[in-house]
């Protein structure tokens, strides 16, 4: 009798463990399939839902155009922010640029006058090392990048740490919006 009882208990335990293992294998496969499907959907949407920014970087004595692909954004101000952030990163195709190191975008807003106010960290002024033309190209590049990527803006004005400053590098005014300053045609 005892032997029969013991065999019965062992059988029950075996059946219980087999059921548990089968269930685990089944659910783990299902979950894995669901996860991989979800990841696949995500990667497809990422690769498809991109947009291009056209950036104008100061390189040497001219502006160099570079395309940047970013995830699609809704609204013009996020695009403007992304444009400034990409600009501050500097060009990929050239190491020699006068974009001041460690500059950060603090904030950005559009006035009712359709002027975009770009509030930059003090590094943009403090770390600038350049002559008249380098300063001119730095401002022109930022202006051109914003105007060509963001809809319905008329001008760009730069603030440093939330304040108007007279000049960036000691050669050109920063007190005024950039359009008139950068409209100068250089040779």
């Amino acid at each position: 009798m005892n032997n029969k009882k013991t065999a019965g208990i062992i059988l029950l335990v075996f059946l219980f463990l087999a059921g548990g293992a089968g269930g685990y294998l089944y659910f783990s496969k299902v979950l894995h399939r669901e996860n991989s499907t979800a990841e696949g959907v995500g990667s497809t949407s990422k690769s498809e839902d991109l947009f291009s920014l056209r950036m104008y970087y100061p390189v040497g004595t001219q502006l160099q155009i570079e395309e940047r692909k970013l995830p699609r954004m809704i609204g013009q101000m996020p695009i403007a922010e992304a444009t400034v952030e990409e600009y501050l990163k500097g060009p990929i195709n050239s190491a020699s640029s006068h974009i001041p190191k460690n500059s950060k975008l603090i904030g950005l807003y559009k006035g009712i006058d359709k002027i975009v106010y770009v509030n930059l960290s003090d590094e943009f002024r403090r770390n600038f090392q350049g002559d008249v033309f380098a300063e001119f190209l730095l401002l022109k590049g930022l202006y051109e990048s914003l105007i060509s990527n963001v809809e319905d803006i008329q001008d760009v004005k730069i603030l440093i740490e939330g304040k108007e400053v007279e000049t960036l590098g000691g050669h050109l005014y920063l007190l005024y919006p950039l359009k008139d300053l950068v409209s100068y045609e250089y040779q």
Binding site: Q129, H171, L172
Partner: protein, 317 residues
């Protein structure tokens, strides 16, 4: 416990040498970063090169000059005085020193033409007379604004030193000179412009550095008809209107003087810069080569000052 230190490897510097009649060329080849960080100081008969770290020099024997090598510097002693120019090139990265004997024949013929009582001074020290009476000289940047800096040389210091030396020379000639700044202090555009307009000088000269190895000369650019109320209200592009032609002439004469002295291209741009367009005086902004490419020793400063003096003298005539 044994601690191992990485072995200090010395950067190799290869010296090459060539000679032609009346001139010789010394080339130092090394890694690009090493070449870029070399500091060259030249006088009439010797050249000192400071290296960023210890180096190992390889050079041919029997050179017509003396080489004195120290831990991080190399001195080249020439046998006689010479005109020395240097520049950096890439592929392979190298420092080139061009050494030319002074043109003694030309100097002799010039001396013959000069009356004996004036022969003590070279033509370089005898620029044409400056007929203009008053000047405002603007040393760019200052205070927290260093301008362009390379090593321990900064734009604000060199421009101040040049402005003071140029001013002192003009004062010696009996001219009125006003310096925008005399010490290392920050001065706003508004204050610089205000001083020029208050003094109403015959010429306004603003001194700066370029990022390149070239001189760049800026003249004001004024639109014939400006419809920009913002700019007009701040007097940009207004005060200069009467003086544009004179400013252009001043800048052209300075460019000519630079070309004559340095035998190099000078970039010329007309731009509506605040310190040029807002002043009621013939005005020019001169950018000197970056200290990355030129050593601003006393010899170089003297050459620059003479060039400006020659330019304003020619303009005044």
């Amino acid at each position: 416990m044994a601690v191992s230190f990485p072995a200090h490897t010395m950067t190799g510097v290869l010296l090459k040498f060539s000679q032609q009649e009346g001139s010789m060329r010394i080339v130092l080849e090394a890694e690009e970063s090493f070449i870029q960080k070399m500091k060259v100081t030249a006088s009439a008969s010797n050249i000192k090169i400071d290296f960023p770290e210890p180096f190992h020099l390889t050079s041919p024997k029997d050179l017509p000059f003396e080489l004195i090598s120290a831990d991080r510097s190399l001195v080249i002693n020439l046998k006689e005085k010479a005109d020395i120019k240097f520049f950096r090139l890439s592929s392979p990265s190298r420092l080139v020193l061009d050494i030319r004997k002074p043109d003694t024949q030309a100097l002799d013929s010039q001396k013959k033409a000069i009356p004996p009582e004036k022969q003590a001074l070279s033509p370089e020290k005898q620029p044409a007379p400056v007929l203009l009476k008053s000047f405002v000289i603007d040393a760019g940047h200052g205070g927290y604004d260093f301008g362009i800096a390379f090593g321990n040389v900064s734009e604000k210091d060199i421009t101040l030193s040049l402005a003071k030396d140029l001013g002192a020379l003009l004062v010696k000639k009996g001219r009125k000179v006003f310096l925008v700044r005399r010490v290392d202090q920050h001065i706003t555009f508004a204050d610089r412009i205000s001083l020029v307009n208050q003094k109403n000088p015959d010429a306004f000269i603003s001194l700066h550095f370029s990022v390149s190895r070239n001189f760049v000369v800026y003249a004001p650019k004024v639109e014939e008809q400006t419809s920009n109320e913002t700019l007009d209200s701040y007097s940009v592009a207004v005060k200069q209107k009467k003086y544009v032609a004179k400013s252009k002439a001043l800048s052209e004469n300075i460019i000519k003087a630079i070309k004559e002295e340095f035998k190099e291209d000078v970039f010329h741009r007309d731009m509506p810069l605040p310190v040029l367009n807002s002043v009621g005086a013939p005005s020019v902004l001169i950018e000197f080569p970056s200290p990355q490419f030129v050593t601003y020793d006393q010899q170089m400063k003297t050459r620059i000052i003479n060039v400006i003096l020659n330019g304003i003298a020619a303009y005044g005539q």
